[in-house]
Every structure is written in C-alpha cells, then in structure tokens.
Amino acid sequence: MWRGIFVVFAKEVVDNIRDRRSLMVAFIYPLLGPLILGVIISMVSNVVRVNPERHVQLPVVGAEHAPQLMAFLKNKGVNVVPAPADAKAAVRAGKANNILVVPENFTAQFGAKKTASVDLIVNSSRLPGLIALNRTLGWLGEYNQIVWGKRISTHGVDFQKLRPLTIKNVNVSSGTHIAEVLLFMVPPLFIFNLFMGGVYLAMDTTSGERERDSLEPLLINPIERWGLMLGKFLAALLFTAAAVAVQLFAFQIAFKLAGVGSFSFVHNLNALTIVGIMLMTLPLMIAAVGIQFVVATVTTSFKEAQTYLGLLPLVPAIPGMALVFSPVQVQDWMMAIPSFSQTLLLGQMVRGESITLSAVAISMATTTLLAGGLLWVVAKLYEREELIFGS
C-alpha cells in the first residue's frame, strides 16, 4: 500500500515541478510578502530615524519677528532656515515637512505680555509631516511653558505648583524604532502563504484531474482510494512546506537587507528556528491542505474550486491582520483555536516574547485533531462514486 501511495506522490511531484504555475505559487509568491515588507521597512526606517548628529531644519516665515523664540529653537539644535515663497504649497508638495509662520504683530503682542499666535503649516497625511509636527509641537510647548513660568513667577507664584502633571514618554518595546511595528505583519503574511502554497496542487490533482478526464482511469488501478488521495495529499503538503520554508528564509534575508538585524526575532531567525517554526505549524499545513482537498473534491470544476480557494487564505489571515493594530493578551484557551493559535505564537516570537511549551503543545494537539478530521472527510469523499463527476 505504501508503495502505491509513494508512486502517486512521486508522479504528482514530478508532474507539478514541470508546471510553471505550481512552481510560481510554491516558490515565487512566498517571496512577495518578505519583499514588500522589507522595502516598506527600509523606507519607513529612513523617514523615521532621527539622527541626533544632524540639525533638524525648520523653515520659518517672519523669523525676525520672534528673535527670542528663534534663539530658543537654535539652542535646541534646530536649524532655522528661511521658508520658501509659497509656504502652504511647499508643505502640501512635501518640499518642507512643516513651516512655522510668525505674524508681524507677534513682537507687539509678545512684548505686551499678551497671547501671541504663530501658525504651523502641516501636512498630516504624510508620515514625515506627522513626525515633524510632533517634534515642532514639543519645542513650541516647551517654549510656551518657559515663558509662562517666567511671567507667573513675577507675580510671586511658584509655577511648579500650577503644574500638577509632568508627562514623560517611556517606550517599553524591546526595539527602538517604529519600523519594527511592521514586523507584526509577519504572522498574517505567514498564515496567508501557508494556506496558499499547496493550493494549486490540491486543485490540479483533484478537480484538475477530473476535468482532464484522467481521474476515472486512475481510479481503476488496484490501490485503495484513500491511498490514492494520500499520495496526492502528501505532494500538496510538500509544496506547502516548500512555500513556508521559502518565505521564512526570504523574511530573514529581507529583514537583514532592510536593516532591522538588531531586532531579536530577526536575529534569532536562523535555520534552526525556521525548522522549529515549520514543525510547530506542520499540523496547520496538514489542515490547510485538508480544507483545499475538501473544496477541490466537492466542487464540480477547476474554476469553481479556484473561486473558493482563491479567497480561502484571506480568512485565517484576517485575525492576524487585526492583531497588528490591536494586539490581545494571549490566553491558554486561544491556543486551542487552529490557525489563530499559530498566528499568536508567531506574533509572540516576532515581539521577542518567550513562548511556552504548553502553549505550543495545545496548539499542535488541537490543530492535529482538526487536520485528522479533515483527512478523514477527504478519504470519505474519495470513496463516493460522485468523485468522478464532482458535486
């Protein structure tokens, strides 16, 4: 029996290695996620990275009206430069991140110890604009407080008493720059790819085989139907595992090139970790191929199977996408949910948190149960005589 299963497996592997589409899905598609993420990370890093050595430029209109403020800014290391002629257009076009406008009456108002106003032209739709806005507001706020403190102390009031709250930013992420948030896209991209890798094989070996009219003669050979199915199943599983491995190695290379090598996850993403991740997610790979086989077996045509299976990888990837923006605190019971548990475990690895053996055990056990159930269903579906017609 095992020989027969191997014969089917070997034929499907050879057949699909010769198929450009199967190879694309298994070896080229997995590169896309790491490539895009790597490019975004390296771009964002360049925008966000604050270089303390370099003076930050702040274009100012009417700098001569507020010499004290300019002196304060220069003291903060800000390089005050004259603003372009059309300040608003320059900010809108991204030529300047923000521009400070000091009106002519500033000197008079400020000198009279009244509220003087300045305009800050910003473009909040651009990330560099937002970062510059945050920075400039910080300086202006600080200047505001200093002047205010001085003015009130002339009235004999201790200004510290009027400041009940001091806010300090304490960043607890183990990394230091914002680009690392993007690493949390790894789990959903991983899950999507895992559900995608073997999908072409699943369709080609089942609905494709039926559509080519080669399934009926194949079923007449002396091999149990479940054995025939298992041979095909293992071939699809091999391509899924190949896609997963290709993607993990591509992540490693992309992150190193993008310059997030100091981050613990990237640092730890060596061959051994990759093998570990693959073992941890093997039950999910089996379940993914199982679902693909169920859909490919019950649908009547290759096109119909393609319609459903094209959308399938999105479903398990959605929770991972949501977690990028609103992470949850991981509970043990969550480890009992196939696909979600792998998303969480991978998320923990990405964040550099340690994962517990019990969590991995629960995740693998429950997903193995699901995978076993799906395999049983596919084996039953292969026994039906409708198999040769579809439905």
Partner: protein, 242 residues
C-alpha cells in the same frame, strides 16, 4: 470471464440499468451495443469498479466487483469513456505510472513498456509530453497504460470513436490479437458494422435492458432482418437516439 446478473442502477428517478444479464467468455470478443443512454457506459463503470450496482452482481473471473474490488482491478484493463492524459508527462511516463500502480517495476516494467510502444506504433512520440497529442496518439497511450499489466479481461468503451480509418483498423487488429491470446474482450460501440465485424457475440442494450444477444447470425434470424442497421433498430424498437 465476465458475468453480469440482475444488474440494476438508478440515478435519482432515472433508471440506467433495469436488471441486465449477460456473459462474456475468455477467448471471445463481446460487443455491447445500444442507443445513446441505453446504459452501456453505466454497465461498464460497474464492471470496472468505479460504480456500485443498486442490486445484482457483476463478476470478473468469479470475483465480485464490489466485495473484491482490487482483485477485479488487477484482472482488468480498461479504456474508459474518460481517457484523458497528463499534459506534462510523456507517453512512456503514462504507461510507467500505471505499471507501478500495478506493482510492477524495474527492468520487467521497462521491457513491457518497450513492447507496448512497439506493438502500438508509438515510437515516434513515446518520449514526447502528451500536450498536443492527436486523438489517435492519446488513444494509443490510453490503451497502452490499460494493458501494461497484461490483463486477462479488457473493457473498452468506444475504442475507435473519433479515430481515422487506419487507426481504427489498428485497434481492430489489437482486439483480434487479444482474443487469440485467450483474453476476454468486452467492448462498447455505436458503430454497428464495427461490432458485427469483430464481435463473436453481441449484446444489445436498450433503455437499461438487454433486448437481444447472440452472434450476428442469431440476431439476424431472431429479427428476420438481414440489414445490420434494420436489425438493430428492430430489436431496440427505436428510430431515434443513435
């Protein structure tokens, strides 16, 4: 040897086979003929194990097609109605795949593949991938993979359908050769002259029932018709559906 008794099969409200009985002996060619929808393909599908009858039994060399599926599968070579190939495998790889599924391997299998390639005149395209094969080439590959394990019983569904005259003649010769080797050949066709020319016995199916069986001469005597077409129309009682 093929033995069919009381075979019934329905699909929903449609009765495809309504209790058919016939036998096909070793060393004989048995032609199964009937109008479209008469139940020929369903009968063959039950015989080659991809369908199960609602009642009745089909036996190949005394093995039941349901309870001894694999025993039956080892004893039959089938050219089914569906005879698609894998576009990315060569002709030789197709035959090798089926040979291995029958437990063959090594030099014995390669020798058998060479014999079939030679016998069916496949030398020119044996190592080409199947994509773009002509109908005749596809048919040859399908026949070769069906016979790789040298089965004693051959079930051929419309083996010459769509083939040109030369290819059809080659298939006829192949069937005669199999017969002379003592094989039991059961084939379906809607070409009456073909059935009469190469069959030892003819089984006529109509509306899921066997309406006549015997040699061409016996059928001619039963119906009183000497013209083949008239004879068949007479026993099936139908002017349509051929």
């Amino acid at each position: 040897m093929i033995n069919v008794s009381g075979l019934r099969k329905s699909f929903g409200s449609v009765t495809a086979l309504d209790g058919i009985n016939f036998k096909a002996q070793d060393g004989e060619v048995t032609g199964l003929i009937g109008p479209n929808g008469a139940g020929k393909t369903t009968a063959l599908r039950i015989l080659y194990t991809v369908m199960q009858p609602d009642s009745g039994a089909a036996e190949i060399d005394d093995f039941d097609t349901v309870s001894h599926r694999q025993e039956v599968q080892r004893r039959i070579g089938v050219l089914p109605d569906s005879r698609g190939l894998y576009p990315r495998l060569t002709a030789r790889e197709h035959i090798r795949y089926y040979g291995r599924l029958h437990g063959m391997g090594g030099k014995a299998l390669e020798a058998q593949i060479d014999t079939l390639v030679e016998a069916l005149g496949m030398g020119e395209f044996a190592d080409r991938r199947a994509k773009g094969f002509s109908k005749g080439q596809v048919r040859k590959v399908a026949l070769a993979r069906a016979m790789v394990h040298e089965p004693k019983n051959l079930l051929l569904d419309e083996p010459t359908n769509g083939l040109d005259i030369a290819s059809s003649r080659a298939v006829h010769q192949l069937i005669r050769d199999l017969k002379s080797k003592g094989c039991c050949v059961l084939f379906c066709s809607h070409i009456m002259r073909e059935v009469a020319a190469i069959s030892d016995r003819i089984v006529v199916l109509s509306s899921g029932q066997v309406v006549a069986q015997g040699t061409a001469d016996e059928l001619s005597q039963q119906t009183g018709e000497s013209d083949l077409e008239e004879m068949f129309l007479s026993v099936t009682g139908s002017q349509e559906g051929w």
